[in-house]
Amino acid sequence: MIRASLKRILYFMPFVIVYFLVLGLTALAFSLLAESVLFKDGSFSVVKVAYYLPDDSALNETGFSFVSHMESVEGSISFVEYDSDREVHEAVDEEDVSAGLIIPADFASGIFSGTNPEIEVVFKSADTFDEHVVADIMLVLANDLGVGQASVQATYSLCDEYGIDPNRSYDISEQVRVSELAYAMDRFHAIDIKTIDDISTYTLVQKVTASVLIYIFILSVFVFAYFCKGSNRAFVIKAKLSGISLLKLFSTEALSVWIMMYIVFVLFFIGLKFTSIGIKTSAVLFMIPVMLLLACLVTGICYLFKTPVSASYISFAFFTVLMYGAGGLLPIEFLPRFLQKWVFINPLKYLIDFTLEVMFG
């Protein structure tokens, strides 16, 4: 049986390589282009935000100008000035812009005086992907401004407690505990917009590479459904009568699938070594159990369905949804909020995380 299985592997290998070559090259191109495609100007990363800033505060204008020209903000948000708060509301309602900011006249001076001026953040309910991104940015903005205000107020309170004039900050350092002051000043930042790469251990390209690799290996059911015979009733009967248990048949076929998958992985590995993705050399060893797990999964799927066609299409539909839900096809941060909550019960997420660790960790 083993000799016959090896001959089958030799026969199947060219088909397997063609399958993986076509999908693998497509995936590789997608991985390498992912960052520029996902973050290029004109796609969802640049959004229009309306703002109203009363004219009577030079401090407000300086602060806003500083924030809007920060590199991370400039690349993500296009600010459009409106003449009144009513116009900002209308622009958001009519969807001319994705969100609006209404900044009170006493905002900058209020921070320093210890009053509590609030920026009004206007956006509609987030339905589309763009709107989710904008909503997130606005919330970060509002949160950080709030923290900034609270920190200044805390500083003023401390000054008051120690009997210090808050406008003479050089006196503060002599009498206020250094740690308290450091905390307050550290929180005194207005906006910190993070990109996916900033908040992740791995780059977007690495994430996409690992996810797509897992995805195309699972979808190799398309090829291996024609290799695995466990769904063929006549074959199973013959195996049983020949003294070969279903477990032995499964093991033999899963091992054969694993050999083919691993050969393909090694070819991918060699290919990835020539790119800038930065795959670790040890991945060639540590991916052995991942490939074994995938081979067992693929063989199991092939055994579950009566025909190769049903195995292929049902697994394609099921695993595409599962892979999307695991943050594999799009980073978790880009998923709709209700899906983000369910990512952690998705087993594929952990398989992708392990693969990332092994390949790029």
Partner: protein, 208 residues
């Protein structure tokens, strides 16, 4: 050699009801009935693949089952397909194929041909050879003549006679009238019941 004693098989409904069949060495038993009458279930029960709900099946000897669908691997040739199921070496396989029963199947004529390039008759003979190479005493055949042309049918029928003469017991489930001329007993399965047909009864009348 095979004793089926009051065997019933039930799943959601009763498929076989108190079936009694005795088959001795060198005897051929025909099983006749419409689709879904329980012929394949009875063969599976004899092969030990389905457990009877009640009754007892006693078998003396090794069983081989030639199923309706073939269990061949399309991308392998005849020799590799035989290799799949035995621990024989090449010369042992060739020796077995040239033995008295297997030589009739003429598998050596196309030993290097891939299954995907074989005709229906060649596949059926190879499927039979892959069962016979393990040396069964009792052969179970489910629709052995289905979709075969006349020369291929004749080859299989000749083989049935030779296998009987060699002391083997055969159970054949079929719709094909011709095969029952080679059977010593023919049973009719209907509504789960199994009745022994009188030799004077024409099989075609029963099926209609």
């Amino acid at each position: 050699m095979v004793s089926i004693d009051n065997v019933s098989v039930k799943y959601k409904k009763t498929i076989l009801k108190e079936v009694n069949i005795e088959a001795s060495k060198g005897e051929c038993i025909g099983l006749l009935g419409l689709n879904g009458s329980g012929k394949s279930t009875l063969l599976s029960a004899i092969a030990g693949l389905k457990k009877p709900s009640s009754g007892r099946i006693k078998i003396e000897g090794k069983t081989g089952f030639v199923t309706q669908e073939n269990a061949l691997i399309d991308e392998l040739n005849a020799y590799d397909n035989l290799l799949m199921w035995t621990s024989f070496k090449k010369d042992e396989i060739m020796k077995a194929l040239n033995g008295p029963e297997l030589s009739m199947l003429k598998v050596t004529d196309y030993i290097n041909v891939k299954v995907r390039n074989m005709s229906g008759g060649m596949k059926k003979r190879l499927a039979l050879a892959s069962v016979l190479i393990t040396g069964p005493d009792i052969l179970l055949m489910d629709e052995p003549l289905a979709a075969l042309d006349i020369p291929a049918k004749q080859d299989i029928l000749k083989f049935i006679d030779v296998f009987k003469q060699g002391g083997g017991t055969i159970f054949i489930a079929s719709h094909d009238e011709g095969v029952f001329d080679h059977c010593d007993k023919v049973y009719h399965l209907k509504d789960g019941k199994c009745t022994l047909l009188d030799k004077s009864t024409r099989v075609s009348q029963i099926v209609i």
